[in-house]
């Protein structure tokens, strides 16, 4: 996994709550058996006016100029700014893969869905939960000035803007540690291999029907 430490970037505001993973990446793209190449389908139903599939060339499809992702104003932003309950619905990790593939490294929201969060941590995408009032504030700043820049510092757990306004965020020690170092959770778990085997030996006695 690509480590995440510190980032200085503009923000892309997507003023919506309850953005579900079907909206982040629609079902027809889940037919891919790869982890890459999903960026061009990010928010597909909002971004393009024409329907698409894995077979169609997105370059040939008409885009919706009103959709924020299609506006040059916010091009290159590595932080996606949204409202409540981002990433609800389906467990599809493709949602995280498409955000990363498009170039986002951080999502700031007032709340996230659980599965989306755990998928994010495993891929080096940082989900940051701020207070609703702080999120409102960031929306105001970005809408007034699209060039508004923030620094995201994972070590210090801070989002800081060019005017030295500071927002702090919570993250579990475990996920922080994995993200900062780019650790793979499978390797961490396999350090406990003996404990897993001992557990299985115990359970074979206690609940033998689980080990047919």
């Amino acid at each position: 996994m690509r480590p995440f430490t510190r980032l200085e970037t503009t923000l892309l505001p997507l003023d919506r709550s309850n953005v579900d993973t079907d909206a982040i990446i629609p079902q027809q793209y889940l037919k891919s058996v790869k982890r890459t190449g999903f960026g061009k389908y990010l928010f597909d139903n909002w971004r393009y006016l024409d329907p698409g599939t894995l077979d169609t060339d997105p370059g040939q499809r008409r885009t919706d100029p009103d959709f924020v992702l299609n506006q040059d104003t916010y091009a290159g932003a590595e932080v996606l700014l949204v409202r409540d309950n981002f990433g609800c619905g389906s467990s599809r990790e493709h949602a995280v893969w498409s955000l990363l593939d498009h170039g986002f490294r951080v999502v700031i929201a007032s709340s996230f869905a659980d599965i989306f969060c755990s998928n994010s941590y495993k891929n080096g995408l940082l989900p940051i939960t701020l207070q609703a009032a702080e999120v409102d504030d960031l929306f105001d700043q970005v809408e007034q000035d699209p060039a508004y820049v923030c620094t995201v510092d994972l070590e210090k757990q801070l989002v800081q803007d060019q005017n030295d306004r500071v927002f702090s965020f919570e993250i579990s020690e475990f996920h922080k540690h994995c993200l900062l170092n780019g650790y793979d959770e499978i390797d961490i778990t396999l350090q406990h291999e003996d404990k897993i085997r001992a557990y299985e030996d115990r359970m074979k006695q206690a609940c033998p029907w689980l080990f047919p």
Partner: protein, 463 residues
């Protein structure tokens, strides 16, 4: 201390392999269900790392999302869908994993076949790369959806690193009126809690109305826990659970059954159990529910009206749905009807739905009404009971099992602007096809809508 545990506390504790100082628990997984959409990248990761599945016998695989619901003898026409299903076949062969392939009568929606086969048992931890894994909690299991990286993690280690959630009790007392089903209870719960109301919790459904439900009805409720934000929903084991599980192919038999069921009977929350949140509902007050928006929380009773668009989310939703505030729900006309999905495609759902038809036919303005059984075995059972003939003579299409128009990864999709009465679980924008408009309802409500061409209050027919 022991007498204060919730059902979730008990199952969680019995699967804890190791608790880390940083608050994470290494949790052992008993059953891993696998389907074709969220597994290819996990198997690829396993191969790249040169790893093998930790415990093959814990895995059960099937293809459900991409499979056609029409004649399958010629295979899958869409080459991209076919490749995904072929990839699952190939991974199962390569790693010697038990799979019910497309032409096996036991194939079906993964959340239907797990319980049907007895592969999902009380007290188990059950995962699948699919958010509706919460379904299996109806058996007193801890079952939850995971992402593809976690699928790989479970394949490689039989464990997950997790933080324990909080406990929420959802108590439903009273008796359900005729024409009101478990689908209506869960839609009403989601309407009350909101789609994020149970985020961070494991929900336990309890109370007289839940005890009175069949295991099928309980599965419908646990299925949609995720629509309220809860990764898992659970229901205590009782005689109904044990009767359901007994004799199923993967369930223990003989002396092992006796031992298992003695343990399973302890799987309920203690009387003094502490919940971090409690939600209470009276079933006798409930009416059939219909969603009007693009999130399951946007729901109202069938005798209600489309609400005012007084916030930006409601405005977006009503615009997408093509609805005006104040429109009576019963005045909304529909184009298609979908009876199926892991929420409502079990034999009991099909019996209830067929029971309402009584020699009537699908209304002329309904372009397509389809019934998609949850598994090949559900389909066979329904045919033995003659339900297929009732549906077909009323003008419904009777299809092969799979996810179908619940998410339209196969050919079953809504056209832009089409309005559908659907027994599935998500009314998100584009869920059933780009521009498609979904109204979530119970199976009997879907049949009522099919026969009239618009939503109707089925209580009038079932009193």
């Amino acid at each position: 201390m022991m007498e204060n545990d919730t059902l979730y506390d008990k199952v969680w504790r019995s699967h804890s392999v190791h608790e880390r100082d940083d608050g994470m628990t290494l949790l052992y997984i008993d059953r891993h269900l696998v389907h074709e959409v969220t597994s290819p990248q996990a198997f690829e990761g396993l191969r790249i790392a040169g790893r093998a599945p930790w415990r093959r016998d814990s895995i059960l695989a099937t293809a459900d999302h991409n499979v056609p619901t029409t004649d399958r003898s010629q295979g899958i026409e869409d080459p991209i869908s076919r490749r995904q299903v072929d990839t699952l076949d190939e991974n199962c062969r390569h790693f010697s994993i038990t799979q019910f392939p497309m032409l096996d009568v036991r194939q079906g929606i993964v959340h239907v076949i797990g319980p049907e086969q007895g592969a999902s048992l009380p007290g188990m931890t059950i995962v699948c790369g699919d958010s509706h894994t919460s379904t299996h909690g109806a058996l007193g299991a801890l079952a939850f959806g995971i992402g593809t990286s976690e699928v790989e993690h479970v394949l490689a280690t039989q464990c997950l690193l997790l933080k324990k959630s909080k406990n929420m009790q959802i108590r439903v007392d009273g008796r359900l009126p005729a024409g009101v089903t478990s689908k209506d209870i869960i839609l009403a719960v989601i309407g009350r809690l909101g789609t994020a109301g149970a985020t961070g919790y494991t929900a336990e459904y309890a109370g007289a109305a839940i005890r009175a439900l069949s295991v099928e009805g309980r599965m419908t409720m646990c299925n949609m826990s995720i629509e309220a934000g809860a990764r898992a929903g659970m229901i205590a084991v009782d005689d109904t659970t044990l009767e359901y599980v007994a004799g199923r192919p993967f369930a223990p038999q003989g002396a092992m059954w006796e031992q298992a069921q003695a343990y399973w009977q302890t799987l309920r929350s203690d009387d003094g159990a502490k919940f971090d949140a409690v939600v209470e509902l009276d079933a006798s007050d409930l009416k059939p529910q219909v969603t009007w928006g693009t999130s399951p929380e946007m729901v109202t009773a069938v005798d209600g009206v489309v609400p005012q668009d007084d916030n930006v989310d409601h405005r977006n939703a009503l615009q997408y749905m093509g609805l005006q505030p104040g429109t009576p729900i019963e005045a909304i006309e529909i184009d298609k009807v979908f009876i199926g999905s892991c929420t409502n495609s079990r034999i009991e759902d099909l019996r209830e739905a067929a029971g309402l038809i009584r020699d009537r036919s699908v209304a002329d303005n309904v372009k397509l009404a389809m019934v998609v059984p949850g598994s090949g075995l559900v389909k066979r059972q329904a045919e033995e009971e003659g339900l297929d003939r009732i549906f077909k003579s009323a003008g419904f299409e009777w299809r092969e099992p799979g996810c179908s128009m619940c998410l339209g990864m196969n050919a079953d999709q809504l056209e832009p602007g089409e309005r559908c009465a659907s027994t599935s679980n998500r009314n998100f924008e584009g869920r059933q096809g780009k521009g498609g408009r979904t109204h979530l309802v119970s199976p009997v409500m879907a049949v009522g809508a099919a026969l009239h061409g618009h939503f109707v209050d089925v209580r009038k027919w079932m009193a």
